[in-house]
Amino acid sequence: MCLAIPAKVVSIQGNVAKVDFGGGIIREVDVSLVDVKPDDYVLVHAGYAIQVLSKEEAEETLRLWSEILEAGEKLERNDLR
């Protein structure tokens, strides 16, 4: 039940925002719990946006993942020497 689905904020009116879940699914959700502006990505849980997703951090995650994998490989190469 802690399922939360990412969506893009299309427009905001007061505490209610129209968000796009992709694939043509647009719904109104409550955004009282977060500070958002149009084009932000939010995590939506049971009709409420609970957190703003950071695109920079998402890119950073992938960079870190590659780093973890590569760091391991570099270390091993060094070990072999």
Binding site: A7, L33, G47, Y48, I50, L53, S66, I68
Partner: protein
């Protein structure tokens, strides 16, 4: 969204799996516990267990809020419904067994029970029909509790009350560590609960229990990386709190949501289905909001509930002590179509997830 970022890149997955095999201990069994129904879904749906070394076990803790709601609180909702109050609840809750009846049984007897998508739907319904009494059955962990708090603090219509049954995740994780024969070696902490509470409440696990703890997201790669991060800590003989889900979880969490929860609720001891009473693990409406408390408003009183039917092993499945397939009722007397235990009811229950995965596999073979 972020599709171009390839959170499901099979090549990357292959490399993480290789890494997992490299850092995993060669002989000793390692048990990693997650506490989230959505993590269990990702792990089972994508077959992640089959990618791990034989001695690395991933077990599911009490991470399904519907499953852990005790029968006594379902009984309270049933009692309210039979008294003529319109009970609004999330769809998952409808079939969860109480001591004698589920809310669906009450509905079949003529009670007005309605499924809602959010607390706000309950508010709208109550506003639309001011001559009827409504209750919102507020179930869920820290992810869901802020929305209930918000609606209570926004002063809902007078004919709407709240049956608050929210539970908190960190106390449940502590319970698992107290179970002597469970032998957990690391935690994967639930990402969406953490978007609200942040990282801080998990600090105790590495500090006091020397338990590697990684907060993880819900893409298959998120979970694989979290498993790798826990195993790496075990290999390095260290215990740290790490955040794999940086794109959604910060150290301090959602301060606005925390403030709302604090204003609306106080923390009290709470019953968990089949697990007994856990200290400081539940929310109760604060004194100043008691006019919205359905229990007080309608004098609901249930002293004891029957959490488990004879033979049902939900309490052991919920703490990861046994796998669903070890329960004698699994897919025999207890199926998703005719569930006997709460873990088979909810879409996030371990038994339900396993049952559906088995069905899918069989279908594919056929």
């Amino acid at each position: 969204m972020f599709e171009h970022l390839k959170f499901r890149d099979p090549k990357l997955a292959k490399r993480v799996v290789e890494k997992i095999h490299e850092v995993a201990p060669k002989r000793d069994t390692v048990k990693i516990c997650h506490v989230c129904g959505t993590h269990e879904w990702t792990i089972t749906h994508y077959g992640l267990r089959s990618l791990l070394p034989q001695n690395v076990e991933v077990i599911a803790g009490p991470g399904c809020p519907v499953c852990i709601t005790p029968a006594s609180e379902i009984d309270e909702a049933v009692q309210l419904a039979l008294k003529g109050v319109v009970v609004t609840c999330f769809g998952d809750v409808l079939r969860v067994p109480g001591s004698e009846k589920s809310l669906l049984d009450a509905k079949a007897e003529g009670a007005d029970v309605r499924v809602v998508y959010s607390a706000l739907d309950a508010v709208k319904m109550a506003e639309k029909e001011p001559d009827k009494e409504f209750t919102f059955f507020a179930i869920g962990f820290e992810t869901t509790a802020p929305s209930t708090a918000l609606e209570i603090l926004k002063m809902p219509p007078k004919n709407l009350s709240f049956l608050v049954s929210h539970r908190l995740i960190p106390p449940a994780m502590e319970l698992l560590l107290g179970i002597g024969d469970l032998h957990i070696d690391g935690f994967i902490a639930p990402g969406h609960v953490s978007t609200i509470i942040g990282l801080k409440p998990y600090e105790i696990f590495p500090k006091a229990y020397r338990m590697p703890t990684v907060v993880a997201g819900f893409e298959p790669l998120d979970v694989l990386f979290a498993i790798y991060m826990v195993l790496k800590q075990i290999k390095d003989n260290t215990a740290r709190l790490e955040n794999e889900y940086v794109r959604a979880v910060s150290w301090e969490g959602n301060a606005k949501a925390q403030e709302l929860m604090h204003k609306a609720f106080q923390t009290v001891d709470g019953e968990w289905r089949g697990l007994g009473k856990l200290p400081s693990s539940a929310f109760k409406l604060r004194e100043e909001h008691r006019t919205f408390d359905a229990r007080e408003k309608f004098g609901v009183k249930i002293s004891r509930g029957r959490d488990l039917l004879p033979g049902c092993q939900c309490h052991l499945v919920m703490i990861g002590k046994i796998e669903p397939t070890e329960c004698p009722l699994f897919m025999k007397a207890c199926t998703p179509q005719k569930p006997m235990g709460a873990c088979m009811v909810s879409a996030e229950g371990t038994c339900s997830i396993w049952a559906k995965a088995i069905n899918t596999t069989e279908n594919r073979i056929a």
